[in-house]
Every structure is written in C-alpha cells, then in structure tokens.
C-alpha cells in the first residue's frame, strides 16, 4: 500500500513540474518500438502461461491450474495498466520467489504431514489395482491357447482354439462353450466364428480404448469360478488365470478367495487384515504430527541423534573458526608489502577453493587410506593410523579436510577486507603507541568483523548442512559402537536424515525426511536470526 501511495504522490509532485514523460513501453512516438517490444514479450509470457494452463487441465492438476491463472492475470494487469509501477519491477522476482522458494517450502511442509514413501506412493485406486495385479496368477498347468478377440454388437468376447482343435467362445458373463462351425487360421487362432465378428489383431493392438477393455476382460472357463478365467496379455494368446483377491468397492475391502481373509482399508493408507498382515502396496495419507513426534521419541534414534546434534554443532563452529582463523592469519601475512611474489602466492592459495568439493573429498579419502595413502606414509612415518575406523581420528580428518577446502575462501575475503581498512585509523593507533597485537585486537579485528561476521554466519549455516563433504569423505562412519542405528561418528544432522528416512536405501520415508529437514531448518533459522542480531551491535560500535 505505502509503495503505491508513494508512487502516486511522486507522480503528483512531478505533475507540477515539466510535463511527465511517457514511458517508452506505452509510447507511440516515433515507431513505437518500446510498446511493440513489450507486446512481444507479454505475448510470449501469455503463451507460456496458457501452455501451463492447458497442461494443467489435461493432467487435472487443479491447484496448478488456479495458481497459473492467477499469476497470468496478475502479470497482464501489472504490465498493461498504469497503476502498479513498482510492481512492474518487482513482479518477475516475486513470481520466481513464489514458484521456486515458497512452493518448495510449502510442499515440503505438506509432505511432512503425510506418510509418503515406499509402499505409500500412489492413490488408493492404484493400490487396489496393484493388489489385484499381484494376486492374479496363471493356473500352473494351464497351456497358452491361440486366441482371437470377438465382438457381438457392443459385447466383447474371446474365442480360443483348445488342444482338441475345438473353438470355444465366451464373454464376461457367459462361460466358454464350444462353437462347432468356427474356422481356425494358419496361426492357430480362430478366424471365423458364426454369430461373432472376429476383430483383427492390428485393430485390437492399435485401438487404445479397445485394448483397455480387452485387458480387463476375463472369460470364465466354466460356471465354477474356482476354475479360473481366460485372460489375454498380448491379444493373440490366452491362458487360464485365477485371482486370489476380490475387491469390494462398497466396503473398501479386499477378500482372499481361498481363505476368506478380509483386508480392509486402514486410515494408515494400507490394506490390513485382522491378524495384522497387510498387502504390500498402499497409498499416501495425512498422518498429522506423527513424523515430528517420531523424530524425537523413536528410542532407536534418540541417543545417537543427540550425539549427532552435538557433533553437528561442534563441526559447524570449529570448522568456521579454524578456517576463518587460518584465512585471516595468512591474509595478514601476505598483505604485508614486504612479501615478495604476493600475487603469485595469493593465486596459489585460492587453488583448493577452485577444485570441486567432489574431487577434493575423494582425493583426500584416497590420501588418508591407512595402507596406501600418502598421509600416513609421509607425515606419520608409516604409522598405522586408521583414519576412518577411529571416531576421533575420523572427526579430526573431516575438520582437517574442510579446513583445507575452505580457508582459501576466508583468505580471499579477509584480504579484501584488510585492504579496505582505513589506513589513517591504523596509523593514528600506531602514533598513539599501540603495539602490534593491541592494534590487531582493538582496531583491525572489530573493523574486519563488521564486514566478515555475516559471512561467518552464512558459513556456519552452510557447514551445518555440509552433506556432500561427509557423504564423500567418511560416509558418516565409523558407526557408533553399541548402538542399533546406522548413524556414525561423523554424521551431520542432514546426513542422519538421509540415513534414517531410508532415502539412501531401498525403502524410503519422505514424510519423515521432510519433517526432520523442517526441524533442521528451524534450528538454523533461529541461530542465524540471533547471530545476525548480534552482528548489528558490531556495526553500532563504529
């Protein structure tokens, strides 16, 4: 609101002065290029918007449809009216914020309240379909019969040639019966059946709608349902199949035909029998706060998660401090004009920062190999230090490698900040008789921190979630001795999420993973907010 008022008042004041110049985008003076360019760009935007809307309609994504329409109308209103001038600058940024940030946040939040994951991935209808597919089996001794799809009016049926050379015809409601006057073609399948039209194979295979009816068609072998029914998988041959499950849509239950065992739809998104057994495929349902509660109460994870949290904080703090310290030290040394070849040396220092972390982490993993690695051989006189089996050594290795990876960043930042320090202040301190250390502590460091503290907070937040380094260097290991979890001594919280939620292994639980990442987000957000508030004090000191 205030922005708009602001704009209006500004245009009002401008009205008093020289006549307001019309925007290029509206003007028709000259050739009117400005307007034409705008029209072209907006036509493009509208074309994209419309294609999204059409796509949303086709895939029945109503949420997206609504969002796309609102966004498109809003964009057109913003750019084709005079009123919303500031929005013309802000709209693209806002839309990207909505689509890429807010949406993914809201979506993660939504998933955190469901049990989306292995075994709960589709809709209930798909779970039923999967259960029926998995339950329907070919009768073991049933041969394959050459088969033709036949029709009588709207009714579809199968005609098969059995092993005696007889042709049998049936429909969903009429069991198979022998048709004496039918003819069989070269491939063995019936080609003429009196009273029925034989549908050619090409037509069956290329008509998608017909195909779906044929796929769903089951022709009972006899009046006894226990004997199974003919089904075709490819449209040219049939075999006897028997399903061990029956679906009742009214009660939402699946019944085992042989035992009468009833699986009913539970509110957990599975088909569960009374004895507790369940069918493999389920569907995803909202589960409320359960994922959050599990994150805190699951006894398997409570103790190791505490250790992991402590280590995560230790890692993030230590790695930020150590790389900041080393970077600053080197920056001060190589900022001295007496050092020769400063430019070359500075360039060399940047190198570790320029390597991709994927490469350096794997490289260090190789160098730290106790038997073949260079570190033990050269630095520790061939001692048998097992860097990845001992928790303390592994943690030290992680800190060391990350120091190597990130000190160049701080070297770079501090060099820049040092060069921007006011020379007169430092000189004044020197004249006042302040010693080297005093000057550093009271003048340089506080001034440096004003510009670098926010970066340190960002670096802390990044280290807190430095999944890649841990994943590539130690894989989180060595595992905690005496614990029943798969977590290890160097696992950060984010790596723990990856492990616990099973996203790494065969069975995944995206709901739990989302809940845990939201918790981590809140923790980091809170710490960063507090820390940024603190750095404001530094600025006030100036």
């Amino acid at each position: 609101m205030t922005v708009q008022e602001d704009a209006r008042s500004r245009s009002a004041t401008r009205g008093d002065g020289p006549p307001e110049r019309e925007s290029h985008a509206r003007g028709w003076r000259g050739l009117g290029w400005g307007f034409l360019v705008k029209l072209l760009l907006m036509a493009l935007v509208n074309a994209i918007g419309l294609s999204v809307i059409l796509g949303a309609v086709r895939s029945e994504s109503w949420f997206i449809l609504g969002a796309a329409i609102v966004l498109l109308v809003a964009t057109d209103v913003i750019y084709f009216t005079k009123r919303a001038l500031p929005l013309k600058y802000m709209a693209p940024g806002l839309i990207f914020l909505l689509v890429f940030q807010i949406f993914s946040l809201v979506y993660t939040g939504y998933v955190a309240f469901t049990n989306y994951g292995s075994g709960h991935s589709g809709s209930q209808a798909q779970a039923v379909q999967a259960a029926l597919i998995q339950a329907e089996q070919r009768v073991p001794d049933s041969p394959s019969y050459p088969l033709s799809v036949v029709s009588r009016g709207d009714e579809l049926g199968f005609a098969i040639a059995d092993s005696d050379g007889d042709v049998r015809v049936g429909t969903e409601l009429e069991p198979l019966s022998v048709q004496p006057d039918a003819e069989v073609g070269g491939a063995g399948a019936p080609t003429e059946v009196p009273g029925w039209t034989v549908i050619p194979r090409a037509e069956v295979l290329t008509d998608t709608e017909l195909q779906q009816r044929v796929t769903a068609l089951r022709v009972p072998v006899s009046d006894d349902p226990e004997e199974g029914s003919i089904r075709t998988r490819d449209g040219t041959s049939g075999a006897v199949y028997l399903s061990s499950l029956d679906w009742d849509p009214d009660t939402e239950t699946l019944t085992e035909t042989a035992t009468g065992k009833v699986y009913s739809a539970s509110d957990r998104g599975s088909f569960v029998a009374e004895d507790g057994s369940s069918l493999p495929a389920g569907w995803s349902v909202p589960v409320g706060f359960e994922n959050f509660v599990r994150a805190f109460t699951d006894t398997n994870y409570a103790a190791p998660l505490l250790q992991v949290t402590v280590w995560t904080f230790a890692f993030a703090i230590l790695t930020t401090l150590s790389s900041f310290g080393l970077g600053l030290l080197l920056a001060i040394i190589y900022n001295d004009s007496r050092v020769r070849g400063r430019k070359l040396i500075r360039t060399l220092f940047i190198l570790p920062y320029a390597f991709p972390v994927f490469m350096s982490a794997l490289l260090w993993r190789g160098m730290l190999n106790p038997e073949f690695g260079i570190v033990n051989d050269l630095l520790f006189f061939g001692a048998d230090l097992n860097w990845f089996q001992d928790p303390t050594l592994a943690r030290f290795a992680v800190l060391w490698v990350n120091l190597w990876l990130s000190f160049p960043y701080w070297f770079l930042v501090c060099t820049g900040a040092l060069q921007a320090l006011p020379a007169d202040t430092l000189e004044a301190a020197e004249i006042d008789g302040a010693g080297r250390f005093r000057r550093f502590r009271s003048i340089m460091l506080p001034l440096l921190l004003v510009s670098t503290a926010p970066l340190a907070i960002a670096s802390f937040a990044f280290s807190f979630n430095n999944f890649t380094l841990i994943y590539l260097l130690t894989g989180g290991g060595p595992n905690f001795a005496g614990s029943t979890s798969q977590l290890g001594a160097t696992d950060l919280l984010i790596n723990a999420v990856y492990q616990i939620s099973g996203v790494s292994g065969g069975s995944s639980d995206y709901g739990l993973a989302s809940a845990l990442s939201i918790i981590i987000f809140i923790v980091i957000g809170a710490i960063s907010a507090v820390a940024f508030r603190q750095t404001r004090k530094l600025e006030e000191m100036q």
Binding site: R58, S59, F96, G122, Q126, A281, N300, N369, E371
Partner: protein, 417 residues
C-alpha cells in the same frame, strides 16, 4: 492430491525454464523421440520405452519389425540407467510414466511395493531363459519382467602368475598365491573401511549363511539367514584373515586400488565383476575367469544381478506393450542384438551357450550359474549399512562372534520395524 501438486510443479518449472521451446506439453509429455518407424495403417497407438543409451539401438532394431506388423509406434526415451528406478517410481503413479522400462532386478521389491509394475507372462518361453534370471525377476511367485542379461562376480586370476587352473578352495588359492611369490596372495574389495559385503557374499555363502532365507519357489523371505553357527563361522573366518590374523584381507582396498594391485602384478587373484575386465585388458594382463573358490566347504554362490524389461502397471496399451515384450523382445534375434549392443552375459540360454565360447564370458557364466539372485525385497535396503560395517569391523580385529550377532539383531530389528 500430491500427484497433482508434483505434476503441476513440474509443469510450472519446466515451462518457466524452457521459455520459448515449450510446445504446449506441460508436465513433460514431450519426450525426445529416437525411433519412429513406418507404422502401416492403424490409428497410431504408441508405446513409450525407457532405456539407457547402450541398449537404445538394439531396442530400436527390434521395434522395426513390431511397428511394421502392428502399425503401432514405439517411442524410445534414453535416460541414465541410475535415474530409471526413481523416475519410474515417481512418474508411473502420475500417469506420465512409460509403458516399458529397462531395469535391474533388485529394484523389484520397491516397484512391487509401490504398485508400479505389472506381471509378465512368458508362458512356455520362460524355459528359454536361465533359471537364475527368471528367479531373480520373480517376486512372491509372480514374474514381473523379461530378463535379458545377468552378471556376477567371479575369481579372476593372472595366468602369467598362477596359470589357468581354478583353485577349488580358498586355502588352495592362498597356497598358490603364496607360491607365486607376489606381494599378496589375493586382493579383495573392502570399500576402503566401508566394507563390501557384495564382494564377500560368495565366500559367505560357502559357509551356508545366506543373507535372507529363500522359500521353495526361490523367492526371498524377510527371515534373516546370517545368524546361527554358519554366520558365526564366516565371521571367525573373516577375523582370521583380517588384521588380527593372516592379514590377507585388509580393509583399505577399494575398487581402484584393487585394479591397480592386480594389473601391476602384485597379486595373482582377485574377485571382480565383468565390468572390470576392460581395465585388465587395457593393462595387457592375461586373465582366466573361474567360479569363486569355497572357503567354508559349500559352493560359493555370489550375488547375481539381472537386468530386464519392466511393464508399467498404469500402461494404457498393456496388450501392445506385452506383445512387444513377449513376442518381439523375447526372441533369440532381439536378445542377440541386445548382447551385441552391450556385451553382458545373455539371460537367453542358447545365446549364453553360444557366447560362452569366449572363455572369459564362460567363466562369468559359470560363476553366475552357481550364484543366487541378489534379494530384491525392500528389506534388503536396510541390510547393507549394518552388514558392510560389521564385516569391516571384524576384519579390523573386532570380536567376530559378538560383532556379527549384534549386526544380525540390529538388522532383524530394522527389518521387523
């Protein structure tokens, strides 16, 4: 509900990113078309097949005859093999998935649990394939894919150092290895400290301790088979070959170090998969491939990995897709084309015998025939971390029996949960 959200997100983002080249697909339906043969007549039904780049041409070749005979169109979409599993799991429920995808058999449990695969009925044709391949693609008594290739680890030996003759037992191999006078008698992958239960599995099964128990139909149950005296015997054997014993199996070796030690002649024996053969050939080392020797008395049964074609449960053209799988891809010609496009051991028996004239392939085939399919049940995902870690700890000198038994109870708790 979520399906709509996910799909819509895809639509919005892809439209945003593909400014100017959007053809109004929205939701990623417009896939690159690699093959569009001449369909004769028909209303142009289409099946979409996901494949990796190696197999693309071979499938396209098989599709030509199919397109001519049925008038349908086969559209191939090439993807990274590693992406196929998760993409298939995510996209089939939204209706955007393919009709057929190439895949590995150990995805099966996850695919069945997610309800995204249909059964495949090969009928009498099943007998044309290696039994272990059919078993691998079978889940709870139902066949879910058309297999086409298999792979298993085998014992690889440097013929210049120890000749071509296969050692029957671990001890015999160690003796020969020591007699060869190299630095190490054998080198095994241990994933440098992480542990590598996959490589060790042949040796573990020779003690009679399978990871999961198989029922009579060959399907794996979720009952763990690693506990008991057999598993403990294997653990003790590991301990005896680790740092606390002979030291023949250090935990420091990973794949690259293994290749390096073997090709530089520092060891005459290693256990590797067919994927490593090129590295040996490039280094000019003459190798012989044999089944893995037994360490515990029983036959060493390594994990067999099988690759094949899965059918989507949401396919709108199920008949057509099945017809393509069963009547066009399950033929010797198509299987031969697949073999020539990417030489792996064929799952098609007569073809396997044919290519087994190459002694290296024959060696891997013999090893695979001893093998068991890697379990495809979802529980398998919970095993690796504990299993690898326990082996690594035992090799590093931890108490074998208690470490092993703790691993077994941990896995049982995880699997039961």
């Amino acid at each position: 509900m979520r399906k709509h959200l996910g799909l819509g997100a895809l639509a919005v983002t892809s439209a945003m990113l593909l400014v100017g080249c959007s053809s109004g697909g929205g939701g990623g339906t417009s896939a690159p078309e690699a093959s569009e043969g001449g369909g004769t007549g028909g209303s142009g039904a289409e099946i979409v097949v996901w494949t990796d780049a190696e197999r693309e041409q071979a499938i396209a070749d098989a599709a030509v005859a199919f397109e001519e005979e049925t008038g349908a169109t086969v559209t191939l979409v090439a993807k990274n093999f590693e992406d196929l599993r998760n993409d298939f799991l995510a996209q089939v429920p939204t209706g955007e998935g393919p009709d057929i995808t190439v895949g590995a058999h150990d995805w099966l449990g996850a695919l069945v649990t997610a309800g995204v695969v249909n059964t495949v009925d090969l009928g009498e044709k099943a007998a044309n394939f290696e039994q272990v391949a059919i078993d691998a693609m079978t889940y709870e008594g139902q066949l879910y894919a058309l297999p086409y290739s298999l792979e298993a680890m085998a014992l690889i030996q440097n013929t210049a150092l120890v000749g071509e003759e296969a050692p029957a037992t671990w001890d015999e191999m160690i003796q020969k290895g020591l007699a060869a006078g190299t630095e190490r008698p054998v080198v095994l992958n241990t994933g440098s400290e992480v542990g590598d239960a996959y490589t060790m599995y042949g040796l573990q099964t020779s003690f009679g301790a399978p990871v999961f128990v198989q029922d009579e139909s060959g399907s794996y149950t979720s009952e763990l088979g690693m506990g008991g005296p057999e598993g403990e015997a294997f653990a003790q054997w590991l301990h005896g070959n680790g740092t606390a014993g002979t030291g023949y199996i250090p935990t420091t070796v990973n794949y690259d170090i293994n290749i390096e030690l073997f090709t530089s002649g520092q060891t005459p024996y290693t256990i590797q998969g067919p994927w490593a053969i090129n590295a040996f050939a490039d280094a000019g080392v003459d190798v012989a491939v044999n089944p893995i020797p037994s360490a515990g008395g029983e036959t060493a049964a390594p994990f067999v990995g099988v690759q094949g074609f899965y059918l989507s449960s949401q396919s709108e053209n199920a008949l057509l897709a099945t017809d393509f799988l069963v009547n066009y891809l399950a033929t010797e010609d198509a299987q031969r084309a697949l073999y020539e496009a990417d030489p792996r051991i064929p799952a098609y028996s007569t073809l396997a015998e044919e290519v087994a004239e190459d002694p290296i392939i024959a060696g891997f085939l013999a090893s695979a025939q001893n093998g068991v399919p890697m379990p495809s049940i979802p529980e398998m995902g919970s095993v690796w971390e504990f299993w690898n870690s326990a082996q690594s700890q035992i090799l590093n000198g931890a108490d074998p029996v208690s470490t092993w038994n703790k691993m077994v109870t941990d896995v049982e708790a995880e699997v039961g949960a």
